[in-house]
């Protein structure tokens, strides 16, 4: 009897789906309730064991911009994550220690606080774990962390800053990571013209940009929102999107190195699209120079289709539709805010 009841429940459950509201059922009117899911939640997500304080953020900013925290004392986090270049570097792939080319593009670091996993392949969970990884990486900043802790411990200004941020905890790798993570959590984009439109200002977007948004969420058109989903334009997911580089010899397998499942071969994390227009080139291999190139890639159904994400459906778009989606993507940039660089203690 229990078995019969189970199957009845399963059947009813299956038959009832058609009546459910899909997330794509939007009303495209500024301020409409159906759009509110696109607003980023506040306050900024922060771990309980590392609450945000002004002192940590201030210290984290100093550490983020300090080139002395690299093997050759000439490369800071900001060398690749440059605020003047959309917190990225405008390079196809990043340049690391001795300017050697790395294998992936520098990701923008906007709205990291909302990420479930860090890095293109999601190999690191928290910002605290992530903060020191590029610093230690042989091919990136190439730093000996014990030497760097000794360096910071010998600079009065840093000792005072650590004391203010972490009373009685000292200068160590843990407090250094917590400070950098705290600073990174403050790099937020949540005030674009799109956000203003969602909040109710109907003049914030042009008719073309609204058309672009409609195409963006339409599963039989752009189908972008299936992965670039609300509120941060990402599903915290991993997808092979058919880039040409996956067809090269020994391609970068991406997420497969973390989760050995066939679907993950050549799959990379869905990036946020907030402020995306500021951080060309695009894709994890930097192979798209413009946002038009990006949308055209999807419209064509990708180039190497041997392991495409099942959520990638190729819907051919007209040039006008591609232009509208690009207009919409350009409306996701928050207004420029003056940024004050820190003075680094010596």
């Amino acid at each position: 009897m229990k078995t019969l009841l189970f199957y009845f429940t399963l059947l009813v459950s299956q038959l009832s789906y058609a009546a459910e509201t899909e997330p794509t059922d939007y009303t495209f009117i500024a301020g409409h309730p159906s759009l509110q899911q696109w607003l980023l939640p506040t306050p900024i997500p922060t771990p309980k064991d590392n609450p945000l304080t002004a002192e940590k953020v201030s210290l984290g900013k100093m550490l983020f911009f300090d080139p002395r925290l690299s093997g050759d004392n000439n490369m800071s986090c900001a060398t690749c994550h440059n605020p003047m270049l959309g917190w990225s570097d405008n390079l196809t792939v990043a340049r690391g220690y001795k300017s050697k080319a790395l294998t992936r593009a520098t990701p923008l670091i906007i709205n990291l606080a909302y990420n479930n996993l860090q890095m293109w392949d999601g190999r690191i969970k928290t910002l605290e774990e992530q903060a020191l990884a590029p610093m230690e990486a042989e091919l990136e900043m190439h730093a000996d962390l014990s030497q760097k802790i000794a360096l910071l411990s010998g600079i009065d200004g840093y000792v005072t800053a650590f004391d203010n941020a972490f009373p009685d905890q000292g200068v160590n790798t843990k407090t250094m990571a917590m400070a950098i993570a705290s600073f990174e959590r403050t790099l937020i984009s949540n005030n674009s013209r799109f956000d203003t439109w969602v909040k109710g200002d109907k003049s914030a977007l042009t008719a073309d940009e609204i058309s672009g948004f409609k195409l963006f969420v339409d599963p039989v058109k752009g189908n972008c929102a299936v992965c670039h989903s609300p509120p941060n334009f990402t599903d915290d997911g991993f997808h092979n999107i058919g880039l040409a580089s996956f067809g090269h010899d020994n391609p970068d397998l991406g997420r497969y190195n973390q989760r050995r499942l066939n679907l993950m071969k050549g799959a990379f994390k869905t990036p946020t699209l907030r402020d995306i227009a500021l951080s060309a080139p695009f894709f994890h291999d930097g192979s798209a120079q413009t946002l038009s190139d990006v949308v055209e890639h999807y419209s064509e159904g990708g180039k190497v289709k041997t392991n495409l994400s099942p959520n990638f459906t190729a819907n051919t778009l007209t040039p006008e539709e591609i232009a509208s989606i690009v207009s919409f993507l350009n409306a996701l940039t928050s207004p420029h805010k003056p940024f004050t660089l820190p003075t680094l203690p010596q």
């Binding site: 229990k2 189970f6 459950s13 915290d236 991993f238 679907l263 099942p310």
Partner: protein, 109 residues
């Protein structure tokens, strides 16, 4: 697909042991319907996709490895759990999805 799925399910009503239990865990809004379930060895869990996009449910747990592949809305994949232990279940695509299945020996009840 639903046309195929329904008759199979109806036929299978009469072929399943009455001892082992059946459980449904659905995937909706990129979440499992439960964070943790407790079942017995021999029970079956049906992973039912209720989202309008694909999921790929898997477990790399030592006790029971499985990769159900990707499947769309309204389809389900089933796993018979035959080893006691704690099985961690994830979606390959959506990293926030996590389910813990506690598989108990019959005498544990």
């Amino acid at each position: 697909m639903r046309l195929i799925t329904l008759p199979i399910l109806m036929l299978s009503m009469f072929s399943v042991s009455t001892f082992a239990e059946e459980h449904v865990v659905s995937q909706k809004n990129k979440s499992f319907s439960e964070n943790k379930i407790s079942i017995n060895v021999g029970d079956t869990v049906h992973f039912l996709n209720k989202d309008p996009f694909f999921h790929n449910i898997f477990s790399l747990s030592d006790e029971q490895y499985f990769d159900l592949g990707s499947y769309p809305k309204d389809e389900s994949r089933s796993v018979v759990f035959d080893t006691p232990g704690e099985i961690e279940v994830e979606c390959a695509i959506h990293s926030k999805m996590f389910l813990l299945i506690e598989v108990k020996k019959s005498e544990d009840n």
